[in-house]
């Protein structure tokens, strides 16, 4: 850690991991409900569990991105953060909004719009919070000694993500338009501007972990995010096939979303090539694992499994089935969850001055959680294919089909146990690192001086 204020990232990372654990708890509630044990129905009906699961996911990822940004921007701008105090205030505001939202969901206080359930008054608080955040990192960059491509791509991604939150706050009387603009947030986030954030963080990690020349890494960063927008903007059309929008979206959405995997293929090749060029010699091998893993798994989850149901001929049958849940899990895991775990793995030794990245715990955390997620994806896939066939192709009754595929949720839950074990080990490792220390900075300066 070069600058003292970078330590504020720790707060965000700790919050991230806490919320992640809670997210998993709600995942189990839903898994059991699908298995036929909706024992919590009277207290936490399925829609409460689901909304909480999804919003915790989004908030822990955002918290992770914010932590990453607070660490990366001072480093790229080569100066202390504009205001560390402001960052702490912003963190507290984020936590408060999050807690109110989660409690609200349990009391039927929400907007029933998938992913955007946070009620309107809280939306305004989110906006204020994000403005505080952007102001702080923006000022840091503005007053910095230099500003790099990596930093700019990250910041442009964050600003664009904030702007794209706004269409989700418009009220419509028509379900069609409601849905149309809901996708401006949901799709243009995960298949658009979040990829800039992902690209920026990956590029930072690769520069630090591989030692490959910054110019080369950043050139390819532009190419990849170029492909993201080339395909991803019009690719929004893959959500406009069947919601009451004109027929030409079948063509536009089909063609451009079919190109989207290229951007993720780019991310995968990027990470693998740079890591190999660098000779995998960095001592923090586990951070490199998560970084390269993120590139590869994002291609599997978003690219490959996204492509599997993105053509309109296929999507007509799979639209709104467990197939979508299969893809959603792997894509979020590969692209964004692993990214946050990568930056945490990289920064913790630097912030605390302790080198706890060797040994079996972090390594097993990596393998167990990934195998768990792959298993879950497989079980969802089998359940989803069976559902599509029986319900959509043969026309069997919904509840009869659900009973027939119940058993696969046993598989989902078993694999989820592995994932949970892996995450538990990751968190154990995180706790062992302890809090950020000033000596960590001194050590870094010594290393630089030497």
């Amino acid at each position: 850690m070069k600058f003292k204020s970078q330590r504020v990232a720790y707060l965000f990372f700790a919050t991230s991991l806490l919320l992640f654990s809670l997210q998993i708890v709600y995942g189990f509630i839903m898994g059991f409900a699908h298995l036929g044990f909706d024992v919590l129905h009277d207290v936490i009906p399925f829609n409460v569990a689901r909304t909480t699961h999804l919003n915790l996911l989004v908030v822990w990822l955002l918290s992770g991105f914010m932590g990453a940004t607070y660490f990366i921007v001072p480093e790229e701008a080569d100066r202390e953060l504009y205001s560390e105090k402001l960052a702490v205030v912003q963190w507290a505001a984020l936590v408060i909004v999050g807690v109110i939202a989660i409690i609200g969901f349990h009391l039927n206080y929400w907007e029933g719009r998938k992913f955007l359930e946070i009620p309107r008054p809280l939306d305004y608080l989110v906006v204020v919070d994000v403005l505080l955040f952007l102001f702080n990192v923006g000022m840091t960059a503005w007053n910095g000694k230099r500003f790099t491509t990596t930093g700019s791509v990250l910041l442009v991604g964050l600003v664009a993500a904030a702007l794209l939150y706004l269409p989700g706050m418009i009220t419509f009387e028509s379900q069609v338009l409601d849905s149309y603009f809901r996708w401006w947030v949901v799709h243009l986030w995960v298949e658009g501007v979040w990829e800039l954030i992902m690209g920026g963080i990956l590029s930072f990690l690769l520069i630090k972990l591989t030692g490959v020349d910054r110019e080369v890494i950043e050139k390819w960063l532009y190419v990849i995010v170029g492909f993201t927008f080339l395909s991803g903007i019009l690719g929004t059309g893959h959500h406009y096939y069947y919601i009451g929008t004109p027929e030409y979206w079948l063509l536009v959405g089909g063609v451009f979303s079919a190109l989207e995997p290229l951007a993720f293929l780019g991310m995968a090749l990027y990470a693998v090539t740079m890591a190999r060029r660098g000779g995998m010699s960095h001592p923090n091998r586990i951070a490199l694992f998560w970084t390269v893993g993120c590139g590869i798994m994002s291609f599997v989850g978003a690219g490959f499994l996204g492509f599997a149901h993105t053509l309109p001929q296929v999507n007509l049958w799979t639209h709104g089935t467990i197939i979508t849940a299969m893809h959603g899990h792997m894509a979020f895991w590969g692209a964004y969850a692993m990214l946050v775990l990568a930056i945490i793995s990289y920064t913790m030794p630097l912030m605390t001055g302790r080198k706890l990245f060797t040994g079996w715990v972090p390594e097993w955390a990596f393998w167990t959680s990934n195998i768990g997620m792959l298993g879950m994806t497989g079980a969802f896939a089998v359940a989803g294919i069976a559902q599509v066939y029986m319900e959509r192709k043969i026309g069997m009754d919904f509840l009869a089909v659900q009973e027939a595929i119940e058993v696969h949720f046993g598989g989902v839950l078993l694999a989820a146990c592995l994932l949970t074990l892996g995450i538990a080990m990751f968190i154990w490792n995180f706790i062992q690192y302890g809090l950020p220390k000033e000596e960590a900075m001194a050590a870094e300066h010594l290393r630089h001086a030497a």
Binding site: H34, G112, V176, F229, I243, H319, T324, R392
Partner: protein
Amino acid sequence: MLSKSQARLFFIGGTCFFSAIFLGLTFHTLGQVDARQNLDLLTAEVARGKEIWDSNNCMGCHTILGEGAYYAPELTQVVKRRGKEWISIFLRDPQAMFPGKRRMVQYDFSDEQIGDVIAFLDWIGKIDTNGFPPEPDLAMAPSLVVQASAQTSAPPAYFQQVCIACHSVGGTGGSVGPALDGVGSRLTAPELDRWLADPPAVKPGTAMPNLNLPDATRAELVNWLSGLR
């Protein structure tokens, strides 16, 4: 070989170009969508129905237009599938309709609210969705047994809307209650009438709900059921 500034140009140029096309298409879509969604049918009732739909987060269990959660049935075509009458009975007490099955939340909606929800679902069902949800293309041909069963006349509309969800006749229908083929020889008309008037009073704890049938409907049903021999 590609230089960094060329790469940057590719990124910025591509983004601007495709954003512009996207905005253009959005503009065009907004012009088309009113006809496809039958804006003239979007009444105050429908809007209130959407409000109820949103504020209770029905999307957290169901999908609509294929969006939402995968725990409960797709509702885009539910009015066509079940009929308004059935839905209004169902919404009053969801668990009575599917005893022992996966549970829906018991909302205490007023009759007016139920009307609003149904108006909303009905409006959704009329949107031109480019063919979603698709007709099952591997569906088994309707069983020939239907014709073979000794029916005196076509079933009353109410039977087709409500009873069929739980009972089958001639091999089609639900399986919550027993098949009603030959029920006319098992039960006499007065027995049927007493049963339909209030099943739990006849057999406490039964899974068949009291449907509060109007007298005329009940008489029609009893008459038809007696003919199933």
